[in-house]
């Protein structure tokens, strides 16, 4: 237990890095995911095919492999990117594929009849998108979106392997020094658990708020 108390300041620092990485990756993957979903739904055939290929690759290749590629290969291509931003870009781009699936599925879950009905009462396309389709799609997208956010938070732990000092990295360093794996990794796990559990509770709360008149 003493070990844990002494390690707390460092773990706290690592937690801040994890929070920062997680927040930035969630934002980036959401934005990119929206773009990908829009391209997939309303882009031309070429864009749609490109997005489809991108999604296929991301679905089949581990995040760790992508992080390694960024970490080892980019310097050879003379691309210098600060490791923190590099990690965020890779994680964001990776989970954007999952986000795109969520958003696309949600939009497609709104029946065609809704479009036709909205047109029949004289709404224009932007109004239909906002007031009819998105209003219903956001409700459908809520739970899987939160799940994907949780995957993003957990995914950020992989940056410790390429040397970013997030809470997993800090935890491993401390364990190597103090040989107290249960306390330290338990604490690290608790950090992620708290974050992800809070997210899922928040998701459930939002769901109940949004569905009140549904």
């Amino acid at each position: 237990m003493d070990v844990l108390f002494q390690a707390l300041p460092q773990l706290a620092k690592g937690t801040v890095t994890t929070l920062y990485l997680a927040a930035a990756s969630v934002v980036l993957s959401t934005v990119l995911g929206l773009v990908l979903a829009i391209l997939q739904l309303y882009g031309g055939i070429i864009l749609r095919a490109l997005v489809e290929i991108y999604l296929y690759i991301v679905r089949g290749v581990p995040l760790l492999v992508m992080l390694f590629t960024m970490y080892y290969a980019l310097p050879y291509a003379n691309i210098r990117i600060e490791p923190n931003s590099g990690g965020i870009v890779v994680i964001g781009a990776y989970f954007a594929a999952f986000m795109a699936e969520v958003f696309r599925g949600a939009v497609l879950s709104v029946p065609r009849g809704q479009w036709e009905a909205a047109r029949a009462v004289g709404l224009r396309t932007p109004r239909i998108l906002l007031d009819v389709v998105l209003a219903q799609a956001t409700r459908v997208a809520g739970p899987p979106y939160i799940n994907t956010c949780i995957m993003v938070v957990k995914g950020t732990s992989l940056v410790s392997i390429i040397g970013l000092m997030d809470v997993t990295y800090v935890g491993k360093q401390i364990v190597e020094r103090t040989l107290a794996p249960f306390e330290i990794f338990g604490a690290v796990a608790l950090v992620y658990f708290t974050l992800c559990f809070a997210l899922s509770r928040l998701g459930r709360y939002l769901e109940s708020r949004v569905n009140y008149a549904y």
């Binding site: 679905r59 050879y76 291509a77 249960f182 992620y192 559990f197």
Partner: protein, 217 residues
Amino acid sequence: MAVDFTFLTRVAPALAEGLTNTLTLAAAAIVLAAAWGVPVVMALLSRYRTVSGLAQAYVEVVRNTPILVLMFFIFFGSGFAGYPLSGFVAGLIALVLQNGAYAAEIYRGGIRAVSQRMPEAGMALGLTPRRSFGLIVLPIALRNVIPPLSNQGVMVIKDTSIAATISVAEITFKARLLADSTAAVFEIFFTLALFYLAITAIFSGAMRLLEWRVRIA
């Protein structure tokens, strides 16, 4: 920077040495996780509040913890406790613990998706609740779970790469060693990605075939 694609033919055999480990770990993890999900879902659906509460707590804990941290916990923890596990076993346990929870949730969803009317109809025909579940609900639920189980299996295959961090000599581990000793990193990681794409494609293709074979025509 020029990408030398003839290098692929030299990289591929070196990576293939790790292929056995990746495939064994993935296959064992998928089978054991699917099996471990069964007692977990039975506990989740138990009518005893303590049992279902404990199962729910277990599911929440392993689902909200990164697989990397689970692997570290088990790998370094087992060594510290005096029962050192090999990286392979520690990685396998972590994968099974986490994905067993996911599998249990998938089973629960699959059972719930079967209309409540069906077991009722079975009971109306004189089946006991147990037989009604076994003969009517389960066969439909099992068909329901194939697609989500297949997706989870792909996740497991990809997550085996993380076992490289606890020194399991699978393909990502080999690729990293190669990348450290050569300057052909692009080619190495490109080949590595191709390996994973091939493995996941074969797996999901096989699952789709299974889904098609057991469909209700």
